[in-house]
Structures are given as structure tokens and as C-alpha cells.
Chain length 355, copies 2
């Protein structure tokens, strides 16, 4: 038995693995592997259409929002967004609340004036800044809903008339939120959507066409919309895995159903951590992420001992990001509650033994 | 029984499908799927390292050449190359010999002065231009070794002191050539390297750092080299399929061994076409591609009849690109000779029936 707490690429539903394994040998009874199917065939078009339709349905998107599946990871969005949305000299507003937001800010400076409206860098990004003002003339306001590395999550959508742009890579589809309040949402697929190698971008068309710079076709959202995510050969397989994972979530009851499970998992983990003084969560209570729990011990030798114990028990990924240290436990949609039960039992036993 | 003549995504070796199908359920006995493994684990590092080492070995690359696996498809290279290699006002030389080269030319114009040294557009790209002059002051000379859509292939490497840049998407690893003569080679993986969703870039480091424009980290080759193709979450699965396909080719005897098979397949197909007047290959003899054979019939009703017959016999992909019409048969590395034997027998029977 193995338990996968990896931060991404991360666990996907068992049913998805099983269907993918079959599709690699024989996709839908065609005698062909999903890997050898042309992207301009009805076979693949059906996969892409279902992925888009299911994403729209799960997120309850209105008719103004388009769903794209693009190459390049969320890191490509860090520069593609300002390239498409902000003119030279114009302001783009950013919230600096973690490693990914910081990277996005760096790239945006290549294209416009960046105003950082607030930052939690002063306390190593262990909280979400509040009470800031977004400049009304900003082309957009960019924020990260969940900080995979630091373990914070932003549950409230900022109130503003400025178009909202959100990096939802690590908590998309994990909880009910009003996706339609956003002008643009992006998310690397490798946590809650599907396999690494594709990025979902949800956007409102009316925000496009307002910048006057020339750009390559592959970076122009309008061209991807016009081509229906098939401007060039798409990452066929990664989109196939997304489609199956989205279908799984739909069959499960959608976002409200998975949110209930996610809340149980997070509650169990954090209440265990709070009850055992040997473990110390690093994030302020109200901003604790339900997707990535980060905690440390004060004794590095004990940290090592507990990490080794987890490994010996078949637990993968119970380790902090190389930039933070300590522990990180990822609780994405596909992680069953039983995995958290096993982990928290181990924590409790360990803490009692060391007490 | 099915026969896959798709132009890409296209057939891969059966052994690769079988191993991938197992790796989706249990990667190397870890109990984890290849889809849920973190990219910064020794497990995935081993996959990436083997893919790079095997590519270097198969291509006999010298120590100056780096191998990268990048997101975005060859279409991203169309603009990433000029962005990294040509300064504003400087000249980049291009050969216009097909659909892909034309697209590359369009994107290069965003970054420098493009000089098209020769074109075969006058005859619908049915031949490879020869006898042109490459300007000695060009930053680089770009050409396409194989034109997937038009069915031409360029077997000679241009003689020039200008750095050579080649789009080898559809014939890389299919025949012996001197890869080291090139400053940069790129190839979408979805024909002879592996699965769609990753692009191999081979380049000499000394060509970098000569332009003075600012660019996003994701588009700067130097950053990808420094990060060992792990600047962000790589397309883990697509690289895994590449590794297995490269391993398969190595075990088979490498490029010389597969070239012998590829030549047999192409010889059989073209000699059949030449012997049956009902079929008319569109490309001049000396420039016929060994990877993509393009031909037509003069009677559209017969074309339709033969296409339907192929479908009925379990043959996929025997159809010209939507921009060209007629027929295209792709003969990539993983296509067995037996598939060509079955197809040419069908052609012969059909031609005799209609004679």
C-alpha cells in the first residue's frame, strides 16, 4: 500500500489510471493507442470537446468565458498574461503572497508597470495580506489563490472593478468559488485537473485586443480561441487525462461533493497538528491551505526521523519544498480521506512516543 | 488488425505502448503511476537523464551540443529561435520550402530582418530549391529537413559557414546525418521521438547570449540549459514516452538500422506508385520524402473510393493534409514494413480492378 502526498505532479483517481492504462493499448475499441491518434480526428476532437464542456459545467462558467488547454505550464502564463493584457507604461497590479506570485511579478515587468499592492514577504509568506488597495486604473489585478510551497490559501475573492486574474494552479476545482468573477484564470493541470504537460486557461474574450504590441501567434490568446486549442499539435495525452479526471469529478457530484471531502481531510490533518505540540504549522490559522499543509518540528533530528518513518510506511511526498524545509502534505482532490487517517495516526503515535 | 499511417501524432513501437500501459499503473515497481510522480524525484530524474543520454548517443552528438526537452511544440520554436538568435535589424536567412518553413518565416519577422534565400512556392512546394546563396552575415540559416504536408525531404546539409538551424520534426532519427553540423535542431516529439506534448531542442551553447533583448525566462534557452530542462514542471509523461522510444531505437541498432528499414518501406511504396499509372506522386523524384509520401489520383471519385477501401481494411491516416488533398502515407520509424506491404498490395489490386 502506498500513500501519495506529492505536491504535483500528484495523485490522480485510481479509476483514471485504470482507464488511461487501457487507452494506451486500445483507445475506445479503435485498436489504436491514444498516443497514436491524430489530433485532427473526430476521435481526439471528442476528447477535447468533453474536457472543455465538463470544465465549463463543473465551474458553472457563463457564456462569456472560454476554456483553453495550452502548452507551457503556468510559468508560461506568467509572461503570456502581461504580454496580452497590459500596454507598455500601463499599470498591472499584483499581490505578492508566495513563490509563484513573485515569479509572475518578475515577468510582468517586461511588459508594463507593475504595482505590488501588498506583500507577505516580511513573514516568509506565512499569511495572506489583507486590506490593500487596488489602483482603479490597473489593467488587471493578479493574485495566487493557493500557495503550493508556503501552504497559504486565499478564500475570499478580492472586491474590485479591476479585471481579476488568478493563478489557481493548486486549488482549482477543490472548493466552490465564483469563477465568473474572474477575467482570466489559469492552472497547470498536474494537481486537480489531470497530468503534467497542459495548462487550463479560462478567460473572458472582451479583455483581449487592447494592447498594441505584435506577438507570435502561439502567445496570442485570440489565435488559440479561434483555433479551439488546436493552433498546433496539442498535448493530446495530457488533455485526455484531464478529460477523464474532469469526468470523474463530475460523476462524483462535482465541486461541492469534493469540497466536502477536502474539508474533512484538511480538518483532520490540522486538528491533529494543533493537538500535537511536537509539530508546528507555519501558517496563520485563517490562511491555512486545504490543499498543501506546511509544518515543521523544532528539532531537525526529529524531522529526519519522522520523514524516514513516513517513507518506511509507504508515504510519498511528506517533505517540505526544497526552499522551505520541514514538511508539506498535499491533499488534492484525488487523495482519499483514508490516506490522511493513516498519516495522522502515524503522527499521533510518533508524538506520543517522543513525548 | 489496424495499420496506422497517421502523420503525427503517429504510430509508436508496440513494445513502448505495452511498457507505458504498465507504467501508468505501476512505474518500475514503485506502486505509483508515472503520472503521479514528482518531477524533482530521483525516479523522474532517471527518466530524463536516460532520454537525454540516449538521444546524444543515437545522434552521436559532440560535447558542445546540449539536448533539451521543452514545452510548446515546434511552433513555439518558430519564434523562440529568432528571439534568442537574431538582433533587431540583423538578418536571418530562411529557406521557404513548405508550410512549416512559411510559418517559421512569419514569426521571425517579429524579431529581425528575414531574407528568404529561395522558395519552391511556385510549384506548390513539390520540390526542394537548390543552388541558392546564403548571405554570409546572416545570424543563422533556417531550413526544414522534411515537409510533412507536401512530402518533400532535404537529404543534403547546406554547405555554409552560417550557423545552421533545422526543423527536423518529421524525419529526425530516421536516417544517418551529421547532426553536429547544426547550431540548433528542433523536433516536435510526436513522430519519431515519442508522444505529443514535448519538443526536443539540440543546440550549441556558443550561439546564445548574442542578442540584447530582454525575454521571459521560459523563452531563454540559457535558463533551460541551466535548469536541465526543469525550469518548470516538465511534461513528465511525454518525456517518459520519449525515453522508452529512444531506448527502443537504441536496442534495435540505432539510426543506421532503422534507416535500412525506412529505405525498404519507401522504396516499396514509391516503386508501387510509379508502376501504377492510376496513382500520381506529386513530388519530383529526387526530393521525395521517405517519411511522408504524397500522391493523388486524377479522378476525385476514385480517390474517395480508395480512401473508403483503406478505411474498410483498417488503415488509418491514408489521406492528404486538408490543405493539399489526395493521399499522404506516413512511414515513420515505428511503422513496420508489413504495413507498407499490405497497403501496396491493396493499391495494386485496386489499380488492376480499375484498369
Amino acid at each position: 500500500m502506498v500513500y501519495n502526498f506529492n505536491a504535483g505532479p500528484s495523485i490522480l483517481p485510481k479509476e483514471v489510471f485504470e482507464e488511461v492504462s487501457r487507452g494506451i493499448l486500445d483507445f475506445n475499441g479503435t485498436g489504436l493507442s491514444i498516443l497514436e491518434i491524430g489530433h485532427r480526428t473526430p476521435l481526439f476532437q471528442g476528447v477535447l470537446d468533453e474536457a472543455i464542456a465538463t470544465a465549463k459545467e463543473l465551474m458553472k462558467l457563463d457564456a462569456d468565458h472560454e476554456v483553453l488547454f495550452l502548452h507551457g505550464g503556468a510559468t508560461t502564463q506568467f509572461f503570456q498574461i502581461p504580454m496580452n493584457l497590459v500596454n507598455e507604461g500601463q499599470t498591472a497590479a499584483y499581490l505578492d503572497c508566495g513563490t509563484w506570485g513573485k515569479k509572475a511579478i518578475k515577468e510582468a515587468k517586461l511588459y508594463g508597470h507593475v504595482e505590488v499592492v501588498a506583500s507577505s514577504k516580511d513573514k516568509n509568506y506565512t499569511y495572506i495580506p489583507k486590506g490593500y488597495t487596488i489602483p482603479r486604473d490597473a489593467a488587471y489585478f493578479h493574485y495566487t489563490t493557493n500557495n503550493t510551497i508556503e501552504g497559504t490559501e486565499m478564500f475570499a475573492i478580492p472586491e474590485t472593478d479591476v479585471p481579476l486574474v488568478a493563478d489557481m494552479s493548486s486549488d482549482i476545482l477543490s472548493r466552490v468559488t465564483d469563477f465568473n468573477k474572474h477575467a482570466l484564470i489559469y492552472a497547470g493541470a498536474q494537481k486537480n485537473i489531470g497530468a503534467a504537460g497542459v495548462t487550463m486557461v479560462v478567460l473572458r474574450k472582451d479583455i483581449l485586443g487592447k494592447v498594441n504590441r505584435a506577438m507570435p501567434g502561439m502567445l496570442d490568446y485570440r489565435e488559440h480561441i479561434a483555433a479551439g486549442s488546436m493552433l498546433n499539435t496539442p498535448p493530446v495525452f495530457a488533455i485526455y487525462v484531464c478529460m477523464l479526471t474532469l469526468r470523474w469529478l463530475k460523476n462524483l457530484g462535482g465541486i461541492p461533493a469534493i469540497e466536502a471531502v477536502n474539508t474533512k481531510k484538511a480538518d483532520l490533518l490540522y486538528s491533529t497538528l494543533d493537538s500535537l505540540p511536537i509539530f508546528r504549522p507555519t501558517v496563520v490559522k485563517e490562511d491555512r491551505s486545504k490543499m498543501n499543509a506546511v509544518f515543521v518540528m523544532d528539532d531537525p533530528a526529529l524531522e529526519k526521523e519522522f520523514q524516514d518513518l513516513c517513507k518506511a510506511e509507504g508515504m510519498y511526498g511528506v517533505k517540505g519544498h526544497r526552499s522551505v524545509g520541514g514538511f508539506r502534505v498535499s491533499l488534492y482532490n484525488a487523495l482519499p480521506l483514508s490516506s490522511v487517517e493513516v498519516l495522522t495516526q502515524l503522527m499521533t503515535q510518533f508524538a506520543h512516543k517522543k513525548a
